[in-house]
Each structure stands twice: as C-alpha cells, then as structure tokens.
C-alpha cells in the first residue's frame, strides 16, 4: 500500500490515471475487435513521428522560458528547408540531409530573433509565443503564395504559381528514416530507423545538459537570480535555449513529414504546438522543469490515447469521441499545469 502511494506520488496522479486509462484501452482492444498488434505499431510509429517535436520543448522549459507555444516557428523553418531542397531537386537521403541542414540554419536565425524578443517579455512568454507562432504562420501563408517556387511537384497545377497545401514526398525522401534497418515481423514493420533517430536526438539533448552550458541553462530556469549571482549571462542562456528548441522543432517536423509522406503547408503548423505541449506535460513536466523521461512517457501516453480512442472507444460507443477526448485531455493538461502552484514565484 505504502509503496503504491509512493509510486503514485512520484509519478503524479494525472499520469497514473491516464496510464491506467490507456492500459485498459489496450486490454479492451481485442473485445472491440481492434487488432492489438496494429494498435501497438501505430502507437510506436506515432511516437517516433512526434518524439523529436516533443523533445524540442525541453531546452526552453529548462531555461525558464516556459512551454514553447511558438513551436510553429521551428516548423516553418523545417517547411522552408524542405521545399527549398525539393525545389533544388535533391532526392533520397541526400535530400533529407540537405533539408535538415537548410532548416537548421533558418531555425537558428529565427530562434535567435525570437529568443531576443522573449528576453524582453519575461513572465509573459507563453501567451506571447502563442501569438508570435500564430502570426508567423499566417505570414508564411502569404509567402507560400508569392514565393517564386517553380518545381511542378509543389506548385498548383493551374496558374503555375503558389505552393500546394499538401506536397507528396514520394520520390523525394518518403519514409527514408522509417525504412532504415526496418524489421519486418509478419505484417508488422518495426521502424527501427525512426527510433534510432529519436534516440540520437534524445542523446544530444541529454549530453547538452551535461555540459557546462547545459548546466548553466538548467540553473537559469531553476533560479535566474542564483545563476546571475554566479556570473551567468541569463539572457544569453535563454536565447541559446530558444535557438536549440527552434532547431529541434525544425528537425522534428522533417522527421514527422518523412514518416507521414506529405509536406503540409499553410495553416497546418498551427496544429503542431498544442499536442507537443500537452504530451510533455502529460509526461510529468512542469512549466519550468522537463526531462527526457517526461518526453518519452508523455509522448507514449498522449499518442497512445490518440491511437486507441478512435478505434476502441468508438467501437464501444459506436460514435467518434476521439477528437473531443483529444481536445479535453490536451487542453485540460495544459490548464492544470498552468494553475499548479510552482515552488518558487518568478519575477
């Protein structure tokens, strides 16, 4: 009993409840005539697709910039990198690598400016980053229409100008990471490459937080006054964290796309931030503390529920509740995190 209580305390109630909920969905799956193997595979693939995006939350949370609702900025960098590479006609693994390099460069520049701005609005980062994200997506919507891209694979068939809303990656780098070292077990394909990639990215974040700079960044998030008294340039650390988060956001969307098979332009980046934020919170992160474990646990739980509710719940209730559940769980999680009493009030 005691041990159970300890476990619950350590994991936190929301995780335990959602965890049990997910577990019961898996248990119920066979009764709902939903294939367990397919469900698990879906969950795993979705985890791989979204993992890096969720990971991109970590640096900013750790440096005290809060949850990165401005993730669309990183996504935009990723999209720009991808379409530019396609315009250049580079395909296959080289294409993907070029896209990553281009995206990272763009993301670094955007992140730098974004970080400078967030330093001027300390304490209001979250609501401001939301609207910066929204308005930059809208700005890019205009840009997708007017930027002089020419490749027929991307431009609207009629008129000959303006990019399409969805661009297929078939023939470019569709599933290039998923299929790397993929293992086939019956119908079940395990996307080894996707997991290796996530592991490498997670390792990079882990390693970064073991360096001098990473340590300083954690201290800035934990107590900026302490860090300053130890001679740390707080604003510089915050800017670095924003740059890293934005770069990871850009890489994250590239991984997502290569798995999904399409580049989605226009308003689609709007829908990337909330699931990622909800996932990391679900994993046990708070507004100013996040670990890689939070990322992994949260992404599995969140994506698990997204995969399982449509199939299991819907077949029981004979109705599609999944969208509503997604909205309630993800936003409820964020509201819960925002109203949680933090141990220290920051100015």
């Amino acid at each position: 009993m005691n041990r159970l209580r300890q476990f619950v305390n350590k994991a936190g109630w929301p995780r335990v409840i959602i965890g049990f909920f997910l577990l019961s969905l898996f248990v119920a799956a066979p009764f709902a005539e939903v294939s367990l193997a397919a469900s698990i595979k879906d969950t795993l693939v979705r985890f791989g697709m979204n993992g890096v995006l969720v990971l991109s939350m970590v640096p900013m949370v750790q440096s005290g910039c809060g949850l990165n609702f401005g993730l669309p900025l990183g996504v935009i960098a990723g999209l720009l990198g991808a379409v530019t590479t396609m315009e250049m006609g580079i395909t296959g693994i080289m294409g993907f690598i070029t896209a990553v390099i281009l995206s990272c460069a763009i993301a670094a520049v955007l992140g730098w400016g974004y970080g400078k701005m967030l330093n001027r609005v300390k304490g209001e980062e979250m609501v401001i980053s939301t609207y910066v994200g929204l308005s930059s997506v809208m700005f890019m919507c205009m840009m997708w229409l007017v930027l002089p891209f020419k490749s027929p694979a991307m431009v609207w068939g009629y008129g000959g100008s303006g990019l399409r809303t969805t661009i297929t990656l078939e023939g470019y780098w569709f599933n290039i990471i998923d299929n790397f070292l993929a293992i086939k077990i019956g119908d079940f394909t395990f996307p080894t490459g996707l997991f290796i990639f996530f592991a490498v990215m997670a390792f990079l974040v882990w390693a970064f937080f073991h360096t001098k700079t990473g340590t300083a960044m954690t201290a800035v998030g934990s107590n900026p006054d302490f860090a300053r008294a130890s001679g740390i340039d707080v604003n510089k650390m915050r800017t670095i964290s924003v740059i890293i988060s934005t770069v990871f956001g850009a890489v994250g969307i590239l991984v997502y796309q290569q798995s999904y098979g399409f580049i989605q332009l226009y308003t689609s980046p709007l829908f990337m931030a909330f699931p990622a934020v909800a996932a990391i919170l679900l994993g046990g992160a708070s507004v100013h503390k996040a670990t890689i474990t939070n990322v992994i646990v949260g992404t599995i739980l969140f994506q698990g529920i997204l995969t399982m509710t449509p199939s299991v719940i819907n077949s029981f209730l004979k109705t599609d509740l999944s969208e509503v559940i997604r909205i309630i769980v993800s936003n409820g999680m964020i509201v819960y995190a925002l109203t949680r009493k933090t141990t220290k009030v920051k100015s």
Partner: protein
C-alpha cells in the same frame, strides 16, 4: 503639467499614443481604393458590422479595468449564448421573445463558466492571458461533448432539423430563421439605400451607459484599485479574488449576449465554428482601436470595430486586385489579427519591464541622483 507642452509636443504625444489606430487608418485609406468597393457598400457593411460586433468587443472592457488583461476566455460566454440559441430554435420560439429567452438561458451557463474561469485565473495570477486562452480550448472540448453527443440524447432536443440523422448531436449549421435580425429590425430605419439596425444600436448604447455607470460604482472603483495593486487593495479590505471573479463573470455573461446579437444578425449558427474566432477578432479589434492590455475605453471599441472590419472587408478584394489571389487578403487579415495581438502583448510586457526598472531607479532618492556623473 499638460499646459506646459508646446503644440508640437502635444502633436507628437498624440501620434505616439495613437500609433496603432493611425497606422490602420493609413492602411485602410490605401486599401479601399484598390479594393474597388463603392462607398455605399462600405458604409452599409460598416454599419452592419458595428451592430454585429460591438457588443462582443464591449464585453472585454471589464476584465481590462480589473487588471486581468485581455479576456481570451470570452469564448466561454459565446458558447453559452450558442446553447441558448440552440434551445430556442428547438422550441421554435421566435422573434424578440426568442432572443430574450436565449439570453435568459445563456445567463446561468455563463455565470457558472465565468465562476470557473475566474477561479482558475485566480490560481494562475500573472499568467491570466495564457491560461484563459487555453481554458477556452478546454471548454470548447466540453462544449463539443455536450452539443455533439449529449444533445438529442441525454439533453432533450427534438427538432429533426437540428439533430443529426444518427439521432443525437446537433447539426453543423443551425438556421436561425425565427430570430434572424429581429433586434436589427426592431425599429426599422432606412436612410437612402442604407438600412440601419437601430434596435441593435439601442441595445449597444444601453450597454455603453451601463459600463459608464458601472465605472462609478463601488465595485468599479474596487476593480480599478485591484488592477493597479492587488496587495494594497487586499490590505485595504477589498475582497480581491472575489472581485476578480465577478469581473470575469460579468464579461462572460456579456459575451454570451454579444454572441446572440452577433448570430441574430448572421442568421445562421455554425454550431462548432461560430465561436472559434470570436475571441481573436474581438481582441484584435479592441487593440486596433488603441486599447492596451491594461487600458481600454469605449471609443477604443468603436474605432477598433470600424478599422478592423474595414480591413477585414477590403483586404481580400485588394489582394485579388493587386496580385490576383483572393486568398492573400484572407491570410493577410488573419495575419493582422494575430500579429496585432502579439505586438500589443509584447509592448505591454516590455513596458512593464521598463516601468519596474524606472521604479527601482526612483528609489535611489535625490541625493544619489548626482552620483552617476561623479562616477565618470
């Protein structure tokens, strides 16, 4: 102090403090000719839109007075208003009684949601805006659950024109034929070819009077005090948390009425989307009208509604005539809505940081003011 300023200084101050509205006047003046719309058309559009939107935008005033910033949670009220409209449509109560009943139904729901929102915001002091924004999404999920699954099932809604063919859940669009524009046409008035929704204007005027009067009440005074310094207000015995909740409750209830007025003009309710942009557009409008996160007046509301909607109407056509893409204007107006909110928030946060520094400097006292020069 002000009489010491020269005319140029006054002019400069006027431009600085009204930079946003002036900028939009300029944009509009440039875009109107490009769009090619006739003056009559634009005037009619503006009059219609003032009637349609002002009440919603006015509902934002109280939380700003109480120092809680822009109430992104106003969509909660909008949802309550829509629930009221769904019921009266089901019961086929038409005309003014229908709308009044819809308002009556929305009121208790708004009050409950307002209390919820206010209490949540009291737990998230200092990040009210982010929290109310997300809370809007959360309640939207609950709203969908109720309207899409409970209505027609657990909650009795009978009319086959409302309920989805599967037997429960409300259809995507609800035609509000019975109450379409009944407020607008309550007192018919037409000047030349332009019809004026005098009835709605009358209601809006009443609300303005209410707000003006409210600022003179004890409650209004308490809200002003809390906005400036919660601690001092608390120590003077003003019930801070309660007052903050009241301001959100009133705002939510008004937003509910506002949404009903908005929809009676539109004539159709898009069940799952109508409230989506209510918050963003209303907030963008009040900011374009020159309001800030901490200061807003009734003129801000009307100037904002006119400028925002002028841009809204002309930008797609202007975009089409300029580049041949109507979508460009569509995106442009969304970009402006979000962008103006982002800029207003940045300026507010930045100014607050600057104020804090100034305050610290002022503590230095008279004697030390000379020191900085001595250091060189």
């Amino acid at each position: 102090m002000s009489q010491n300023l020269t005319f140029t200084e006054k002019l400069k101050n006027f431009f600085i403090s009204n930079a946003v509205p002036i900028l939009f006047v300029v944009i509009t003046l440039l875009a109107v000719p490009v769009s090619g719309f006739s003056a009559n058309y634009l005037i009619q559009e503006m009059i219609t839109r003032i009637g349609r939107n002002s009440f919603l935008v006015l509902s934002l005033l109280l939380p700003i007075i109480a120092g809680m910033g822009l109430n992104f949670g106003m969509v909660l009220g909008a949802m309550a208003g829509q629930i009221g409209l769904i019921f009266i449509t089901d019961w086929s109560i038409v005309g003014i009684p229908g709308l009044v009943l819809a308002m009556l139904i929305s009121t208790p729901i708004s009050i409950l949601l307002g209390i919820l929102c206010g209490s949540v915001l009291n737990r998230a002091k200092g990040r009210e805006m982010a929290t109310s924004y997300i809370l809007g999404f959360f309640i939207n999920g609950v709203y969908q659950l109720v309207v899409l699954y409970f209505m027609g099932g657990i909650i009795p809604v009978k009319s086959p024109s409302l309920v989805l063919s599967r037997g429960y859940g409300i259809r995507n669009t609800v035609a509000l034929d019975g109450v379409r524009q009944v407020f607008d046409n309550m007192i018919p008035l037409k000047i030349g070819e332009i019809s004026i929704p005098l009835g709605t204007f009358f209601i809006i005027a009443l609300l303005c009077l209410f707000i003006l009067w409210f600022r003179k009440t004890k409650l209004g005074q308490d809200m002003r005090a809390i906005a400036q310094d919660m601690k001092v207000a608390q120590s003077a015995g003003i019930p801070v948390d309660r007052t903050r909740i009241i301001s959100i409750v009133i705002s939510t209830v008004l937003a509910g009425y506002g949404q009903i007025i908005f929809l009676q003009n539109m004539g159709t309710l898009s069940t799952y989307n109508s409230h989506d942009q209510t918050g963003v557009f209303s907030i963008a409008a009040i900011l374009i009208g020159g309001a800030t996160v901490s200061r807003a007046t009734i003129p801000n509301v009307f100037i904002g509604v006119i400028l925002f909607h002028m841009m809204f109407v002309v930008s797609p056509m202007a975009g089409k005539n300029l580049i041949g893409q109507a979508m460009l204007g569509e995106y442009f107006r969304q970009f402006i809505s979000y962008g103006i909110i982002a800029i207003a928030l940045v300026l507010h946060a930045w100014r607050r940081q600057k104020d804090k520094e100034m305050e610290r400097r002022s503590l230095r006292g008279v004697k030390a003011e000379k020191q900085p020069q001595a250091e060189k």
